[in-house]
Amino acid sequence: MSEATVERGAEILRVDRLNKWYGSYHALRDVTLTVAVGERVVICGPSGSGKSSLIRCINGIEGFDTGTLEACGTSLGRSATAAQLMTVRRRIGMVFQEFNLFPHLSVLENCTLAPVATGLLRPPEAEVMALQLLERVRLVDQARKYPSELSGGQQQRAAIARALCMKPRLMLFDEPTSALDPETVKEVLDTIVQLAEEGMTMVCVSHEMGFARQVADRIVFMDEGQVLEIASPQEFFAAPAHDRSTAFLGSLLRS
């Protein structure tokens, strides 16, 4: 896609000894992680383990206290300017657990707003691209509808299309299926898998272990704000190295 000059394998995200506190609560503890272009990383762990905090630090939706974070060539931190944050966010797409579509805009307007408002595309071009992407997530027939008229799964696919309209180099998914009915989880996961197969670099927080096994190049297991294990899916699911990884996988199997 865009920025074809960035070769596969180059580093797109570097997180180094990141620490974050909410008041006196130590939410992220010395988190270190790098992601290369083309790589698919799935972050898992029990709730409250800091997965969402971490992914929200990557595009600066949340700040952190110590450590360094460099995403798409820009260093984020306390000294990052508003302009730097905007630049990074335009290169990183994000999909939220609660979809967060704009309810006062149609699906198509949700998709075209950002490319036009940021000067990336002119309105007619943005509409053409938005319709192409809505076609890809199989929503082109819903383009004129409003988010409240769509099912949860359709809303989440629309949110994916909205993020893709900014031609991101990296996609972040923050528990994209946790707010969905079990029946509609699959249609959203299929969309993400398709995106992964097309070579999109992604970091995904997910509880869907089948999905993780299918798309991930690496699994990151977190607990209590700490990265406890980083492994390939084969290693992680066959022989988790950390006691708590074992316990976590066990708890998922029992449920």
């Binding site: 508003a82 990183i92 579509l101 704009f102 309810p103 006062h104 950002a114 940021t118 008229e149």
Partner: protein, 369 residues
């Protein structure tokens, strides 16, 4: 115990609505002896009042201005609507020079036309503010005159409905325009001097009666202005009005800002939108839609509150009505004049209320069919 369904239950049409209209009326008005008694008594009272109103207001009323007010003074005659016909131009235009009253009429009609145009979403584009600027300039040109062969009429000779309308329009529009930045600053996270000033301003403005603010604007401010600098009383009162309404509207807008989920801001920011775009395209549209009924509530309240400018000597619709009722020749027909003025206020206020309900329905996606 085990249960396994043995047959498929086919879909069937829903049962007919179990309550007929007659049953519903019975449940509402005649559910018990006490309810029946109350219904009968109230119905009788309403019928009596309506009959009397009809007799006074229509059957025995005098409509023709010919030979009035003598015809109105005959015993047994009802309402004297002739006084409205006689005093209409005084009520509508006050003491504006009689021969020039086509000017306030045209000015007022162009304002009304702009209300109708602005109410329609298909005209909501960049040309609308321009059209408003042109209309307001035309309004000032017509009312003041002094150019194009129109005689000059100072604003202390303006009166009646155009004054009420321009006071309400400029006061509310300017107040609303000011309320949005005030609300945004007050809603912003963190502290800072700007926020402290805004909070102080809003709380102060809300703690002072409108009457005091109007006296301040009309009597005190000129004392502080340097010699030779003269701002007309009407303009001072409009500014005072705008500053006062801004404080109330700011709090309504702020409650709308609080109603927008934090995820909306996050999603907009995550797309790389600038804070300005996030605010104007994502947050404000949702916030204002959420508080539309409350906004219109304030608009209606302040439209009616414009009538208290009578105490500082602005000649608005209410002042004009008082003046009309004070005519010795037509003494005793104040009721008719005030009823007429009440009807004018009602038309404007009800139009606002009706329009907000319609707009709310159109902009609320959940209610869109």
């Amino acid at each position: 115990m085990r249960y396994v369904a043995s047959a498929r239950i086919e879909a069937a049409a829903p049962p007919r609505s179990s309550v007929s209209r007659i049953e519903r009326i019975r449940a509402l008005f005649f559910s018990s002896p006490a309810s029946t008694l109350a219904t009968v008594l109230l119905a009788l009272a309403c019928a009596t009042l309506a009959a009397q109103l009809f007799t006074w207001g229509i059957r025995d009323a005098v409509f023709s201005t010919a030979r009035a007010p003598q015809t109105c003074r005959v015993a047994g005659v009802g309402a004297c609507w002739a006084v409205i016909g006689e005093k209409l131009r005084l009520i509508l235009f006050g003491t504006y020079p009689y021969a020039e009253q086509w000017r306030p009429a045209v000015a007022m009609l162009s304002l009304l036309a702009m209300y109708v145009v602005s109410a329609q979403p298909r005209f909501w584009n960049r040309r609308l503010p321009l059209a408003w600027a042109v209309t307001l300039a035309a309004f000032a040109l017509l009312m003041f005159g002094g150019v194009l062969g129109l005689s000059y009429v100072p604003d202390d000779r303006w009166g009646g409905l155009p004054v009420t309308l321009i006071l309400a329009t400029l006061g509310l529009v300017a107040g609303f325009a000011l309320a949005i930045p005030l609300a945004l600053v007050r809603h912003s996270p963190g502290g800072g001097i700007a926020k402290a000033l805004v909070v102080a301003y809003i709380e102060l403005a809300r703690s002072v009666p409108l009457l005091a603010v109007l006296f301040l604007a009309s009597v005190m401010i000129p004392l502080f202005l340097p010699q030779g600098m003269d701002v007309s009383k009407l303009l001072r009162v409009i500014i005072a009005f705008a500053l006062f309404t801004a404080a109330y509207l700011a709090e309504v807008v702020r409650s709308g800002l609080m109603a927008v989920p934090v995820g909306q801001r996050q999603a907009a920011a995550a797309l790389g939108l600038s804070p300005f775009v996030v605010t104007t395209r994502i947050v404000l549209p949702q916030a204002l839609t959420a508080v539309l009924p409350a906004l219109v509530n304030v608009f209606i309240a302040f439209f009616k509150a414009t009538s208290i400018v009578v105490v500082v000597g602005i000649f608005d619709l209410m002042t004009a009505a008082k003046r009309a009722a004070a005519d010795a020749q037509w003494e005793g027909f104040g009721t008719e004049i005030y009823l007429f003025v009440a009807a004018v206020y009602f038309v404007f206020c009800y139009a606002m209320s009706w329009y907000s309900a319609r707009l709310q329905a159109a902009r609320d996606p959940a209610r869109r069919a």
